[in-house]
Symmetry: C2
Subunit: 83 residues, 2 copies
């Protein structure tokens, strides 16, 4: 079986996010002063071949720990589609 | 009122995603041959000051159209937290 997995990798809370600040300033300049606390991270989607939904999630978490996220500076969230 | 909004900006289906391909190859080399169809996009989180949840979503969509997403090459998904 194959599961579609969505991963969100964000800069850890409390850490500076220069990209988020740049986007926030740009939004304000474009007429969106109602935006604040902008954080920019990565969204990754992938198919994971696994025997169960739980196994797919565990595999995706292992991928995050090994490659997709930087454990020092980033947090990640794994969602298996349809769950 | 302020709403926390999550935006996911992904390369449009059918368009080449070199970053996704690079990640897929790296995963395979690291012992994850069970990953496929990898796509890499951006995850953006922000607070939107608005009178209602629907208004916050509409404002976030306007931000995507104007700045956060490239309408030619990317699709976006807006989710207001708690909805």
């Amino acid at each position: 079986m194959s599961f579609r997995v969505h991963v969100r990798v964000m800069p850890r809370a409390g850490l500076l996010d220069p990209q988020g600040q740049a986007v926030e300033h740009a939004l304000s300049a474009l007429g969106f002063p109602d935006a604040g606390e902008v954080r920019v991270g990565r969204a990754i989607e992938l198919d994971v071949a696994a025997g169960s939904r739980a196994e797919a999630e565990a595999r995706a978490r292992a991928m995050c720990d090994k490659l997709l996220a930087n454990p020092v500076t980033e947090d990640y969230l794994v969602e298996v589609e349809g769950s």
